[in-house]
């Protein structure tokens, strides 16, 4: 798959009947105008001839703070031909390349690893590239992630999400590293297994967007950041001192205690990370930890 579109017949037609007096620039512009008109016409006929059976209608959220007519948020409809295996992202790419090149959304890997295309599709946070159209009821409503500022169309501001991720000191920081250049740290298989799920996060922000608490409390670390903290706090290679510091971070007012176990984060996570479970485990961990000092 790629951003490729099918070649359009009309465009390869030569246009030789232009009067010779025009300057090359004018001629070119004239050709372009014609081409655009043809394109538009073609799009219309194409859309009109699309059989209902094999098309999907997308209702896509549009907003651009700068462009007149888009300052008021609205929904645009796109009819896209459907083929087996088509994802929401494929459909968006089709609509953009064929119908409206200003349709804006983030995407890159097309295989659920880059985390760019978390969207609100039919009322749920999903990755566009990982969502089969055939699993959805039409018309498919595509909106930007809720609870984040919309930059344009389907693009939201991720800054706040990144800040929360950074707030948990999301980096490995062992108390001590083995001496010797080629000496590795040992980690048991069980321990790697324990942190495995938590290391899968692709920073898509779906969980944060789905969490009611995060929506209400802007300072709440949120499920993804807490999961990140879990990933390191549970890694036996880091050592006890670091773990204490990590627990201190997640125990703060807007940390784990804010989680009301609503589970929506866990439900929407495209990497199937058991977020609620990790949050709960950290709550228990910090209670245990505190009991030690009684």
């Amino acid at each position: 798959m790629s951003t490729q579109i099918e070649k359009q017949e009309t465009e390869t037609e030569e246009q030789e009947s232009e009067p010779a007096v025009e300057s090359p620039g004018e001629k070119r512009r004239e050709q372009k105008r014609q081409r655009q008109a043809e394109r538009e016409a073609q799009r219309e006929t194409e859309e009109a001839t699309l059989d209902d059976e094999e098309t999907v209608t997308l209702k896509v959220f549009r907003y651009d703070p700068e462009v007149e007519g888009k300052q008021e948020p609205r929904f645009d409809d796109f009819r896209v031909p459907f083929h087996k295996g088509m994802t929401v992202l494929d459909a968006l790419i089709y609509a953009r390349d064929r119908y409206d090149s200003s349709l804006t959304f983030r995407h890159s890997c097309r295989q659920a690893v880059c985390g760019s295309d978390a969207l609100f599709v039919n009322g749920r946070q999903r990755l566009g590239c990982k969502t089969q159209l055939s699993d959805l009821d039409g018309p498919v409503r595509i909106e930007p992630l809720p609870h984040q500022e919309v930059v344009k169309d389907l693009v939201v501001d991720m800054e706040h999400f990144y800040e929360q991720m950074h707030a948990v000191e999301p980096y490995f920081d062992a108390d001590e590293v083995p001496e010797g250049d080629l000496e590795e740290q040992r980690q048991s298989r069980e321990n790697r297994e324990k942190v495995k799920m938590s290391t899968r996060c692709i920073w898509c922000g779906a969980c944060m967007s789905s969490c009611n608490i995060a929506a209400g409390d802007n300072e709440y670390l949120g499920p993804a950041a807490i999961n990140k903290a879990y990933r390191f706090a549970m890694d036996e290679r880091e050592g006890e001192n670091r773990k204490q510091e990590r627990l201190r971070i997640i125990e703060q007012e807007h940390g784990v205690w804010r989680c009301q176990t609503q589970f929506s984060c866990t439900e929407v996570c495209p990497k199937d990370i058991p977020l609620t479970e990790h949050i709960q485990e950290l709550k228990r961990e910090s209670v245990k930890n505190n009991l030690k000092f009684w």
């Binding site: 201190r248 125990e251 703060q252 910090s286 209670v287 505190n290």
Partner: protein
């Protein structure tokens, strides 16, 4: 981010107590309901009956603990809910003290009532 390092009580002690009191309340509340709505019909309750039950020291103690735990559980729950709604600073402080005062008052009044019931007052 610096603002994340506030002096909020860490360690989730209140969180833990909320759970511990809940466990206790499951039993007592169920017992309370069964006793006063099913075993003894609510409409048949009289001071004499109450007094009879309350003069058993174990029953009295249970009910008093019920009062204390329920108050803590309820008041703390309300406080948490408000904090989660996003109150902050002075507002939060005010709420905290009002709730503590209300809680203490309730326990005090409840204790007086209980003592009256078993005839001490």
């Amino acid at each position: 981010m610096a603002e994340h390092y506030s002096s909020f009580e860490r360690g989730g002690r209140r969180w833990l107590w909320q759970r511990l009191t809940a466990v206790f309340l499951i039993g007592v509340l169920a017992f309370h309901f069964l006793l006063l709505h099913f075993a003894n019909h609510a409409a048949n309750i009289t001071f004499a009956g109450t007094q009879a039950r309350m003069s058993q020291i174990s029953y009295f103690a249970t009910m008093w603990l019920f009062l204390v735990t329920a108050t803590f559980h309820g008041v703390n729950g309300v406080y948490n809910a408000l904090v989660n709604q996003g109150i902050d600073g002075t507002q939060k402080n005010a709420v905290k003290w009002v709730l503590i005062a209300a809680g203490l008052l309730l326990i005090a009044q409840g204790t007086r009532v209980a003592l009256a019931m078993n005839g001490f007052l």
